[in-house]
Amino acid sequence: MILLSDHVINNISFLVSHSIFSLSLIISSGNIKTSGNIKIVSIKHETELQLATDVLVIGGGPAAAWAAWAAAAQGVSVIAVDKGFLGTSGAAAASGNGIMAPAPEDWNTALWQRYRAGQTLASLRWIERVIEKTWLSLPMVESWGYRFPKENGESVRRSYYGPEYMRVLRKTLLQVGVQILDQSPALELLLADDGSVAGARGVQRQQHRAYTVRAGAVVLANGGCAFLSKALGCNTNTGDGLLMAVEAGGELSSMEASSHYAISTAFNATVTRGVPFGWATYTDEAGNDLGGYINGRRDPSFLPNALLKGPVYAQLDRATPEVKAVIEKSHFIAFLPYKKAGIDPYTQRVPVTMLLEGTVRGTGGIRIVDEHCATKVPGLYAAGDAASREFLAGLSSGGGGPNSAWAISTGQWAGEGAAAFAKSLGVHAHERAVRQAGQTGLRSLSPTSTSFDSDAIVRGVQAEIFPLEKNYFRSEQKLVDSLAKLDALWQQVQGHPKQDTVRDVEHSRRAAALTAVARWAYFSALHRRETRSEHIRVDYPETDPNQRYYLATGGLDQLWVRRDWLSEAIASPPQRSAGEGSGCCFEQAQTELVGAST
């Protein structure tokens, strides 16, 4: 680690410190502090950035990029804000992905494969429109400069290199006039008097100032929530969008699908690329082969079960030269850690672990209410992993190919929907009176001056949500116990957020978001009393065919869940040919309030 030189510390000018989000203004005298060798810069209150646009997109991954592009294509002004850098943020940029974009002659096969994976909860019509939209969109990516591999002279658009894909998308956005604010986490939505969304507020972490963007419509495309597990590229995905949506009056859905774990090595507990491990032999401490295969596929619960018993080692000794060539070429991020550490994964066994990917590869998120990815809140749209992917995957994982296709398609639908909404407001949209919708972790109503420790809150949430025995193997008793602890953390974050620096502001709010998402996840998990896809209840080990509903949830202090029953018939392949539409999944016959927290 490099030390900050005296030269730097001596050259930082003094600034006046204000608390930008607290109800009370705090003015401190010493405003540049040093902690060890790191400079700490207070927030520059006098320079708050004020902007206005037709459509505001929040997020920096593929869904955000596609939303911004689609909105701009409708001729409206677009600002994209991201906590990191649009191009490097999120799960896609940090790796490579398959894309669910089969050639038209294979659509039918892919369609039914996805539908079956959804265990009667997925929607044929949505799977079909996602596949079609994605397939039609990828040639554009190629025209923007992305070079897909060729076979027999034809482009094969079935996967991408994450960094290159996002570089091309960013370049394209700048060319079509999208204004991008990087390193600018959005922290809360702005609401007009009629309850519609009118912009957002956040901080610019390198300018040390707050910003406000007034907008006619907003797209939340800031990812799912992996609870800072360090799963590859996912530490920017902290569920901020889910908290913002609920505070604004939105709802979530399928939050019980939040228990997705992925394998990684233990020394590099970050690169969650499972594909190479398809050719692994697993052994215990003593070197005994742990097996675990069922007809060439590994039982998904094999590794969680094995890890609960003791250390597990993997060695990629089943890879043939042909397999090695493909995985090294296409999953090179998985081999970079080995190369750096001087490990030969084919001949050496390394300890493995599982990292929580939460709703990034799990499917829970903001509930979408129409084909343009609108939410319950007028003017608010959701796309990518921030949105529930239940139509595509039910409670199974949307990881990889389906999620990348979902980002491309829902990004565009949300961008178009937001553009149309913004246009409908006319030219005075930015003159609307607005109020700030953010609360917990931003402003405290607490009569005492007690502040909370963001890092301690995060550790407290992780202690409930990371362990396999709590989140992978769920049971009523464990969920109730964890919810009690999470409720106590939620009470703590009602205290005064530390806001001396932009980092304090961001981390205080992030602690609140992580706590909120964990509560919605476990509260939903508690109320689905069956095992279905990735939601495993050891006390209800069977899938109940009668539980064909999406579980909606929301609430802040008081949580609630609601069963949104699916009215469309269960489809089966022989009764349906390619190209036919299925029933609309929004025509839910009935809803039923089944639970509320005390």
């Binding site: 490099i2 900050l4 070429k329």
Partner: protein, 113 residues
């Protein structure tokens, strides 16, 4: 985690400061950037891909800090590995055309019956 900004290689372009998704670096006037918030590093390696001078080293150890030797890393020529694999950089051709992920489905899996 990020362990090194090589002062021997850094050209002070500050691209890493701009692009780090978790805002780990701070720019310093007329000097290489500093690793100001190492604990925020998520070990995604993307700063290495963006560094035009191959001056950054992200150690594979994701949850512990390790001691690294600048001269040894330069000798091993490991700092620019990710960028080279992507085919990014002056005089290179980007390698996304070499992506063969779609072929994996056609290859047999072990233990298949």
């Amino acid at each position: 985690m990020i362990e090194l900004v090589s002062s021997k290689r850094c050209i002070t372009c500050n691209i890493c400061v701009q692009i780090c998704p978790t805002n780990v670096f701070d720019a310093v006037l007329d000097q290489p950037p500093v690793i100001a918030r190492q604990e925020d590093c998520q070990t995604c390696f993307i700063c290495e891909a963006y560094c035009p001078a191959d001056a950054l080293y992200v150690a594979p150890e994701s949850h512990t800090t390790v001691v690294v030797d600048e001269d040894e890393l330069i000798d091993r020529d490991i700092m620019g590995e990710y960028r080279c694999t992507l085919g990014w950089g002056y005089g290179r051709k980007n390698n996304s055309e070499l992506d063969t992920a779609h072929k994996l489905h056609q290859l047999p899996r072990p233990y298949e019956t």
